[in-house]
């Protein structure tokens, strides 16, 4: 099972995709806020979102799984 991990530590600023949605490689799935910057998180591969593991405002660390693919 593939998934999308956080690229750096920060808080979840916006979630752009929903559970059940098909996403393509390179698509922005979430925006983090870190170091006062908006950090887009992109999908490395295409797939269908099974679960979004974070909510807006959550602190996430580098390497945390943000989105699980089906």
């Amino acid at each position: 099972m593939k998934n999308i991990q956080s690229t750096m530590a920060g808080t979840v600023f916006n979630i752009v995709v929903q559970e059940g949605e098909d996403i393509t490689a390179g698509q922005t799935v979430m925006i983090l806020e870190s170091m006062k910057m908006e950090i887009p998180v992109e999908a490395e591969t295409s797939g269908k979102v099974a679960k979004v593991n974070a909510q807006i405002g959550d602190f996430v660390n580098e390497g945390d799984v943000l989105i699980t693919f089906e």
Partner: protein
Amino acid sequence: MSEKTAYNERLDEKLTNIFAGGHSKYHEKMKEQNKLFVRDRLALLFDEGVYLEDGRFANCEAGDLPADGVVTATGKVGGQQVCVMANDSTVKAGSWGSRTVEKIIRIQEIAEKNRVPMLYLVDSAGARITDQLDMFPNRRGAGKIFHNQVRMSGFVPQICLLFGPSAAGGAYIPAFCDIVIMVEGNASMYLGSPRMAEKVIGEKVTLEEMGGARMHCSVSGCGDVLVTSEEQAISEAIRYLAFFPANFTELPKVIESRAAKEGRTLEAIIPENQNAPFDMYEAIDQLIDEDSFFDIKKLFAPELITGLARIEGQAIGIIANQPKGKGGVLFPDSADKAAKFINLCDAFGIPLLFLADVPGFMIGTKVERAGIIRHGAKLIMAMSSATVPKISVIVRKAYGAGLYAMAGPAFEPDVCIALPTAQIAVMGPEAAVNAVYSNKIEAIEDPKERIKFVQEKHQEYKEQIDIYKLASEMIIDEIVAPSNLREVLAMRFRAYSTKHVPQPPRKHPVYPV
């Protein structure tokens, strides 16, 4: 006459055997792996496929060890004389015997004496264990190869093309080169093979995961350029070499200028909102000659871009924050990446262009434990001690030590240029207002009043760090309209091309590692 013919026959027979390399089954195996025979690699690399070979008859009496598994040669690549060592993996898997090692040492000595670049075409299983006493521990054993590489580092360019394995001690050949080009799927680097890892430490892992080309080019940082074929590896090596002089005493050649790529203007590319991401590659394209960019470590620490390019035909090295990747924040890996790249350019007289849009070095437990301070020190030391022409351009924000790392005014750039969007400060407005007024902000009960207060303070802060105020104080040297930046850079790099900085009398600094 008949006697002479007999001599020639013997020579022809020997040469035929040598040129054929190892057993045909190994040639078949190479074909299956999309690998080229060593002599085909050399034919592609050298201009018109012409080269002089030394030690061709090494171990020719052994029968099954043609050239003792390595071809050492000198010839021209892109018009530049170079020396090359190239493993032949059809001969005992490219392993090193005593003559293999001696041949490599001798071609390095030729490169050093003639002050020309040295290329290593690596595809080798490592030491020939059966020959270890003759090739491993002695004065002219394999260790001497690495010792020579260290001596030659910064003296002549050293380039590694990795076509196959580079195992155990042999993995230090790429490690001491200026650049490592790796072929995906075939190239690998490791100290202990997966089989050894399983036996010795109990770890079960694939070669690709542990020492594959993609892993090294994106995770470990041991690889610099990931390519999909051997032909591409060779063409990339030729393209890379063209940026460099033959040795440190010469300067890179200036070639014919080309216009920048057509595209959106810098004004359109760079968002005014300091916190919004944009793609720095698109901005770089507007500054450099079209198609001249040579990306180094593209997949490793992508929050910082390092690459060679040309501006009006002049070779330069670019260090640029990438706001699109991790906000352009500096991490331990990005600091390492920049430090090595700056050292490389400085060694061979390639001027440096810093494009700053940096919120600072990353903070938090994870990076502190990783030693971000000492990694950052490496970058700052490399940048600070570089004496090639250095131009610092503040594209948008340059906060905190980020300003220092990107060749800020204190580090003697030849000029510090700001775009009108530039913002230089210890920290950004939001963080600064929070730091100074957090108690006061919390004490305001009415939310509207609170927002109003914060906005006022933001405005005051922005006025304090207004870029014209910094220009008035001569902190920055020039404010340039984005549409003029390419022309200004080209003129300034030409103006600084005779720069000379005497070195302080000492042996060498104590390098942070």
